[in-house]
Each structure stands twice: as C-alpha cells, then as structure tokens.
C-alpha cells in the first residue's frame, strides 16, 4: 500500500549481553498508515514501550528495519528522525515554565513569537492548563505535568507522534473529556500517532487500530471492534474486553444432527449442526480438544438452560456484573438491567452459538467466531 507511513519489519529488541539477554520484542511487523492513530496495548513488560523507544531512537534495533515515510530509521540519530514524543514520566525541563516547556520545540522553528504564543494558548486551552502556564513543573500536580508533556509533543509539526501512556495520571472525567479533544486535534491536523497504553478504554476510544502485544510478540493488529468480535487467539480474546471473556475447555463430538461440547467440568452443551457452518464443525471435530469462549454480555438467561449458582452480584450503576459457578467453573455475566440475584441463588443460562468463539486448545489460535470459520 502506498499510504503506509511507518513500516516495521521483523523487528527484534534484545537487551543485555549474550549470557543475560532479555528478548523484549520478537519479530514485530506492523504497518501504520498516514494519519492513523494506533495503540500498542498490553500488560507491563509486553514490549510496547521498547517498540516506541526504538521508533524514537532511544534504543537500538537489534534486528529488522523500521521505516518512516520510506526512510530507514535504524541508524538515524533521534535528532534526525523528526519524531515527537510524550513521555510517561512527563520529563518536563525543570528550569522552564510550563509555557516555555510547551513552546520549547517551536522556538527552533521559523514561527514568529506571536504565532508561537497563539499555538501554545490553543494547546493549553485544549488541555485545560491555561491557568498554570507561568508555573514551573515542580509546583504543579502530576496530572498537570502530564498534560503539559502531552502538549509539548502534540504542538510539534513532526512526521510521527509517539505518546507513552499520555493520560495515565488524569482524573477519569478529565480523561474522558480530553480523549475526545485530542482525537479531534490529531485527526484535524493529519497527525500519525502511536499511543502506548494498558488502558483498554483509552485504546478503544482513541485508536483506529490496536496492536495487542504479549511476551514480546504482536498478537493481533486490528480495529477495536474486530478485536472484540474476532480475536485471533485465546490471549487477545481474554485480554481485550472488560470483564474478560469466559473460557471453557471442552471436547467436541457429533451425534447425527447434534454437535456436543463436553466441558471438562461435566456439563455438555448441545447445538444443532445447522447452528454452525460445516467447516467449523469439521475443524472442531478434527481438533477434538478445544477451548470455547463467550463474552460476558453474550450469555443469556433461559429457563431451559444450564444451572449456575450466583457467587456475587455487583451493580455498577449502569450494568450488573454477576459472578457464578457453572459445574465448578467460574463464569461472569453482564446485564444492563439491575439483576435481583443474591449469592447462593440459582440462575439458568444459555450460550448462543452465534456468540461462541472456538479456539485450538493446544495452540490457542481461533478456529471460529460464531458460525464463521477463521480463514
């Protein structure tokens, strides 16, 4: 594709020496389009920050190539890359005021003092930090420093903007407000941005596509919706989504016009063969042993369903999270009405074949999503 802006090919990052090596990033390949907002999502130590720092030039690339706008970055010093970055630890210059910190990178440009001042004010308005512009970093809160650091990065006219946990320190309300504004600003200015976060809500709200990372590997690189609907493997399935996907290990069998999933804990789920495509049934039967996954909001109540016992029921103000045990295994349901069930109550639940994800138990790869087989 011609609109590929950042092209990462087979990149590895190995820290340390041969006898105490830490392999932080393994064979990472991903292509980011111009003007796209991409999130690197994963738990601590998954390699997302290492990836960001390799792009910025603070870490060397152990293997592979990183190209930005067609130019190979690997051996280019940070100063030559024209990349802007907001740091997780803010990293504002202590002797400068917030205003000067934000304006700093613009001073080297050819903009007039008035243009710089206007830009700084627009940025400060957007980030709600106008009132602290003349203070020094040490005298403002962490959240304010973080916004100043974000402003310092966003204000630059760079080829790529790297944002490392840019809103981690902010109050939830402010975070929700700023997400909208920042996304609008990024899109309006045609900025290509890579965001590192472990906050799914932030990744979902801001990103065009999310790269889920785990153990140094890229697990899946997709739009937020497709990540949820079609997880490529068991890791993405259980990592993306709050509360996480319910999973059950099961063996698969077919009897005349029924497909049966015998859960390890003794319960059987029986479906008509017509509920799935022939390919799905064939693939599942070939594996014999699978993991099935169901999102908490896709589990429905049905008087003819399986019996589960409620362990806890929490009303979060807009949805109920019900934890229950099904044949000794825990299962979580999400309902949008306030559920009356108490701990110890029996409920009857049903899994809808359209919402069942089947995974290969051995490899973890997805076999099917609902009736559709994974190509």
């Amino acid at each position: 594709m011609s609109d590929i802006h950042l092209d990462i090919k087979q990149v590895d990052k190995i820290y340390g020496t041969a006898n105490s090596a830490v392999h932080a990033v393994k064979g990472l390949s991903m292509a980011v389009r111009r003007g796209e907002i991409t999130s690197l999502l994963g738990a601590s130590g998954c390699g997302k920050t290492s990836t960001l720092r390799m792009i910025a030039g603070f870490e060397t690339v152990s293997k592979g190539t990183i190209k930005l706008g067609g130019k190979v970055l690997n051996d280019l010093r940070p100063v030559k890359r024209n990349v802007a970055m907001a740091f997780e630890g803010y990293s504002l210059y202590p002797p400068l005021t917030i205003r000067d910190n934000i304006a700093f990178a613009l001073k080297a440009s050819k903009l007039s003092a008035k243009d710089i001042s206007d830009k700084v004010h627009t940025m400060a308005d957007m980030l709600e930090i106008t009132d602290i512009l003349d203070k020094h970093p040490s005298s403002v809160s962490g959240g304010q420093q973080q916004r100043a650091s974000l402003g310092r990065a966003l204000i630059r006219d760079a080829d790529l903007h790297l944002l490392d946990e840019p809103m981690g320190q902010l109050e939830p309300q402010l975070r929700a407000l700023l997400r909208g504004r920042i996304k609008h600003y990024i899109k309006e200015n045609g900025i290509t941005a890579i965001l590192v976060t472990h906050d799914q809500a932030e990744a979902n709200a801001l990103s065009d596509r999310i790269a889920v990372m785990e153990g140094g590997y890229l697990q899946q690189f997709e739009s937020p919706q497709r990540l949820k609907d079609q997880p490529a493997n068991l890791f993405t399935g259980t990592f993306v989504g709050e509360p996480p996907m319910n999973t059950f290990s099961a063996s698969v069998d077919k009897e005349s016009d029924k497909v049966r999933f015998d859960l390890d804990h003794g319960v059987s789920l029986s479906f008509d063969v017509t509920d799935f495509s022939a390919d799905v049934i064939e693939a599942a039967l070939a594996l014999k042993s699978v993991v099935i996954g169901v999102r908490p909001y896709a589990i429905k109540r049905d008087d003819d369903g399986m019996k589960a016992t409620v362990v806890a029921n929490h009303w979060l103000g807009d949805q109920s999270h019900i934890a229950a045990t099904l044949a000794g295994q825990s299962v979580i349901l999400v309902e949008h009405d306030r559920a009356p069930d108490k701990a110890g109550d029996d409920i009857f639940i049903k899994l809808d074949p359209d919402n069942i994800h089947v995974f290969n138990r051995e490899t973890g790869y997805a076999v099917s999503h609902g009736a559709e087989i994974v190509g």
Partner: protein, 285 residues
C-alpha cells in the same frame, strides 16, 4: 513542628551552645593567639588579658620573621598563592575531566564501565605514603618533580575520584527521559549534555567542586615530598615556623587564620549549594 515547652527550648539552646563552643573554641583560641606575641602565648596560666598586636600578620606579609635569636626570611605569601593556584587549577582540571566522565558512567553502561569507575575510586584507598616513594622517583626521571604541573597531576588523585563519584550520582538522578525529550526535539547529545544535564546537576557539581577544593587545599604530604619551598602550599609552608630558636606560635596562628580564610569564605558563600547538593543526592530515590 511539635509544641515545645520553655524548659525544652532552654535545654536545646544549652546543648547547641555546648556544641558550638566545642567546635569553635580552638578556632577562636587560634585567632586570639594570632594577635599575641610568643611570650604572652606561652605564659602560665594562659589568660585572655593581653595587648593585641598585629606583628605576627606584619611578619607574614613582609616575609621577615624576627625571633629572639635571629631574623629569618619566610615566603608565606608565596605559599598562600601556591595553595590558591594549585587548588584552583587542580579542581578545574578535575571538573573538566571528571564531569564528562561522570556523565558517561551514569548514562552509558559499557563493558567494564563499573571496573573503570571503581579503579578510579580505589585511588582514594591507597595511603598516600605508599605511592609517594615510587611517584617521586618517577617524577624526578620525568622532570615533573618540583613543578606545578606535577603537583596538579598528583592532586588529581584527590580531586578526580571525588568529583567523578559524587557527580555521577547526580547525573543518575536526572531522568534520562528529560534528555531524550530534548534530543527528540532536534538536539544533538552534546547540546543535551550542555543545556540539560549540566544545569540540572549544577548544585551537585558545585558541591563536589567545593569538597574537592577543600581536600586539595588541606593536602600536606604530596606537596611536602614532591615540591621545594617556592612551590609549596601553606600547609607545608607552615613548617618554616618551627625554627632553631623555638616554635613561633604567634606566626603559626596568624598563618592558620590567613590560610583558612579563603576556604572558609568559599564554604560560607557556597554553603547553600553544599548542603542542598549533598543532601539532595542522598534523599532522592
């Protein structure tokens, strides 16, 4: 602060006074001695009733030492100048070499970096007398004995490890991300070092420099062995007051007052940095 009763305040005041007297009395007594003649100093019992005289200071400044037996030439002012020159030059050179080295050790972990840093520190472990004999032989062969250059070089054994290790801690305390943020905004590593790292480590560098200055100023043994009279600092020059006709206590006291004056002035001027600098490095996590 918690509330203190009057008694506690008084007791605390007395305790502080005792400490001050304990530490300041010798200096105060030396100051009094410097204003007396040898006769009044040595009378028994000692008394603070005396007629003050500036003769000791006059002797130091004019370079003529009148004893009961004879008149001696001393070059105390030359010694003082030597001390100033040697200390300033040594500390300047140590800062010039040590600060970039400290930055390198703090920021770049390369193979053997810890070993090199530790070797430099280990110069402080060896007793000076142990290295002096071979060193003086080498210096005589190389023509460095009795030269300012040779002394400044040897003084690096005192100053360089001190500066290197203290300043390194300061650089390590600065988040590397602040420097990355500057570099990513289009600056070379050298301008990052100058514009970001150096100013941020400023108090630490000042504190280390001051400490090194005091250590260099107080050094005695290197200059005693490696330099002759016209290159010796005050610490060694004071030996001239032990004369054939007795020890000139009055002049020694005056020499002490004059020789601690520069370091005292410097320490008072920089004391804010010194305390801030040394404690910040210790407290910062």
């Amino acid at each position: 602060m918690e509330h203190q009763s009057k008694l506690e305040t008084v007791l605390r005041g007395i305790a502080l006074l005792l400490v001050v007297v304990f530490f300041m009395f010798p200096i105060f007594w030396i100051f009094l001695m410097s204003l007396q003649t040898n006769e009044t100093i040595l009378r028994v019992p000692p008394s603070i009733n005396f007629e003050p005289t500036l003769s000791n200071y006059r002797a130091l400044i004019t370079g003529k030492l009148e004893t009961s037996a004879a008149s001696l030439e001393i070059n105390f002012l030359q010694n003082l100048w030597n001390s100033v020159f040697l200390s300033v030059a040594s500390v300047s050179l140590a800062l010039l070499l040590g600060v970039p080295a400290a930055y390198a050790f703090a920021r770049h972990k390369f193979k053997g970096s810890e070993d090199i840093a530790f070797t430099l520190l280990s110069f402080r472990f060896a007793p000076p007398l142990l290295v002096l004999l071979p060193l003086s032989l080498y210096f005589q062969k190389m023509g460095l004995a009795d030269t300012y250059l040779g002394l400044i070089w040897v003084y690096q054994l005192i100053c360089l490890p001190l500066i290197l290790w203290i300043v390194r801690g300061y650089f390590e305390d600065i988040s590397p991300d602040i420097e990355y943020a500057y570099r990513v905004a289009g600056h070379s590593w050298f301008s990052t070092f100058r514009k970001i790292a150096l100013p941020l480590a400023g108090p630490g560098i000042a504190a280390a420099g001051l400490l090194a200055f005091i250590f260099a100023w107080n050094n005695f043994i290197f200059a005693l062995v490696l330099a002759s009279a016209d290159k010796q600092p005050v610490t060694v020059g004071a030996l001239a007051f032990i004369t054939a006709s007795g020890i000139q206590y009055g002049q020694i006291a005056a020499a002490i007052v004059m020789s601690i004056a520069p370091t005292l002035a410097l320490a008072l001027y920089a004391q804010k940095y010194l305390v801030e600098g040394l404690s910040l490095g210790a407290v910062k996590g």
